[in-house]
Symmetry: D2
Subunit: 245 residues, 4 copies
């Protein structure tokens, strides 16, 4: 069986600029996420960052990627539109996309959703409890009725997204808010999963339950069918003329 | 403009059997809900209860009903299957259905959803905060970012429903749970809205925000198009033979 | 890797009563479908029919079934309600369900959909052309832009179903009708696929493209996650106590 | 009751450049559509075209528009991105959008869908028959089981769109193709309807059934709730403080 080829894309700006964030993720958020994936031997894991040439996502690499994970925050605007278009095209062809936390405001997520993707937020390091809405869903395997992240940034409703095709997690925040934290869509031939936790100032991606969800999501996001190379063909006379009785 | 003909169906069992519940709703839950609707002059409001002949829902009355509101709890099993089938048929034709609170386990809701409609629950009189997921939705008009019910029964995820076509409210509970509290579906030609609050031991249906939501929901649920009298016709030779160039 | 355990349920009434149908399917429709599956060594295939004890679907057999295929027509009413409920429960737990052709009017399909599932129809042995709506979908693999069934019963819109979560095939009929012929839903933890072709008087299930679609559908329908044993638990004091105002 | 303020946007390029098209629509496609709307006295109808300043869609005009109708074809690329963004923002706030025919490839439709919106096509002037999938839907009122356009361009599946939330029409083409011709979505607070017919070389928009569908669609698309002015607020201390562990 072929391995699932995963690329973890991290903006890698906070970690370079802020001593405080570097202490939390000295290896970079992208590398921490990649390490959490590496325990699954069915994955072939690589990373890419904003400052790499073509943001680390040249055409031929994307063509060979099954699942792309996206973490970005302060530098969304620096992502080149041509690369965003390239990623969108690959998702519509069948590549899975896992959008994490502040990636809700990335160009690629907004482009695939068609909506504002906005929300309310608060940085207070409060407790988040994520409830499972469908205990049988593949992305929720290994998770009990809920799990908690002890200190996280809060994201609250309204979340400006199209109605999710399936909602896997809902978050409860100690400060009184709720959020659709695990949402599934299909666009073209590609699956998309948004997963909320992961503020840069907390070691959330070191938490076993979070790593489990990300691994599950990669399995769920892996392409199931063929690559759909889309076009707009002019079909001439119909394949066999018309009705043959 | 014709009035919207609403029937509020209440089981009316708790109110008869329990002195404590009767104190909360001496007029009956169904009548309290009906009173909350009566301030809107575009409504023509009636009530029906389990003990009425045909549960108060004879064929000709249903035929003239635009929106049916359903509150039931301990006596779901006493609702006659023939009446459930009749209500289902009217919903598929275009009648709106508002299912309240413990109505999640009513025969009619389970039949229209096709799923278990189960959930987790706790009676602790805790605080519920309902967040609006789409501030522009007609059902949320007049509600701020959220509203609170000071003492309610808790309902929590997983809620065994098909993916809602739109989620209008999400609840946060003081005890740590979350719930999809305002959910929209269309089945056949009829709209369905599930709205969570309303345990019999609390005066929830006297609360202005709850009454506002119920009035909004009735407007949203009112039939928009024609009555679809469904059938399975055998169409003979196609209407005009086949392809004419 | 464990095999996918498939049960093909066939009503097996036409084949017993009608000489003409017996000539088309001397082995029975269910057995013909099962034979088409047997070329895939990852399947463990069995059959069941209406006249078997418990319709061939005792509790312990269903518990060990991953995907159930359902073909019925003239004897829908003879299927015991208790068995229908049992099948529904297994679907909600995670078993896949493939509903074929006239199974649109089976008790199990109507129960899971919550709608009439009605349509228009004509027996004229006309040509059906099935178009692929998403060429990358796993159920469409191995199928070109479309395939044709030379002689089939016509089913036309309106088809009284909830909006499909994904539409894989649309049919064009020589007589002038169209139909949503390949539709996906999820209910509880189980996937459901409706596939239109397969009238008893034509050898449709011997056609390679039809067999390909059915094999693809079985792979897609196989459970992905854990079995969800649903319940309605009363959760006592919340994990860390309740915050009372 | 306030009138529904409709703006019909037409590219108006074919009509200027081609004598043949000008013969079909001497008044312009946009004006023909506007004339079809004017029989409904609840509408306040205006038009706008590509060559108008700001394409006829200045900020204050859009702010006062309830439903925008969009017909474009050869000049999609000439529509300024800033105007597309402005229209998208208004749709998400609540303005309805009716996208016609070749508008499937407009910037605004692709942006709201997030997908390729591609399809197959043929200009053979063949017959199109549009079937109603839900006879009770408000957009289908006044239409029988189907209606025909005698000569039209063919559009066929696969149509690269997200799964429609409701499918109102499916087309059958004489040449052997099918298409999802009437599709509903909601994005943010705005409703979107795509309606297929209307090639520039045929007088399709003079046909009574087509005019009926467009009028119905305007009623359905009109905003129901409040304008949602979206933002991403940082909510400070939560309403009643935060519960810190």
């Amino acid at each position: 069986m072929n391995k699932i080829r995963v690329v973890v894309w991290g903006e890698n700006v906070h970690e370079q600029k802020s001593e405080a964030i570097r202490k939390v993720y000295p290896e970079g958020i992208h590398q921490c996420i990649a390490n959490g994936l590496s325990v699954d031997e069915t994955f072939d894991v690589g990373t890419a960052t904003l400052r790499d040439p073509e943001h680390g996502l040249p055409q031929n690499r994307l063509a060979d990627t099954d699942v792309l994970i996206w973490w970005g925050h302060v530098a969304h605007a620096e992502v080149a539109d041509a690369i965003v278009e390239r990623v969108q095209k690959r998702v519509l062809e069948g590549m899975g996309l896992l959008v994490l936390h502040s990636g809700h405001y990335s160009k690629i997520f907004k482009r695939l959703m068609g909506t504002t993707c906005s929300l309310i937020w608060r940085e207070a390091g409060e407790k988040e409890r994520l409830w499972v809405c469908n205990p049988g869903h593949p992305i929720a395997q290994g998770i009990k009725a809920y799990f908690e992240v002890p200190h996280e940034e809060m994201y609250g409703e309204p979340f400006g997204i199209p109605a999710p095709e399936e909602t896997v997690f809902l978050s409860w925040f100690a400060g009184g808010e709720v959020f659709r934290s695990g949402c599934c869509w299909k666009r073209g031939n590609g699956k998309i999963f948004y997963f909320r936790p992961g503020h840069e100032s907390f070691p959330t991606y070191r938490q076993p339950e979070v790593q489990t969800v990300i691994r599950n999501a990669v399995h769920w996001l892996a392409p199931e069918g063929a690559r759909w190379v889309d076009a707009i063909p002019n079909v001439k006379v119909s394949p066999e003329g018309i009705r043959q009785e």
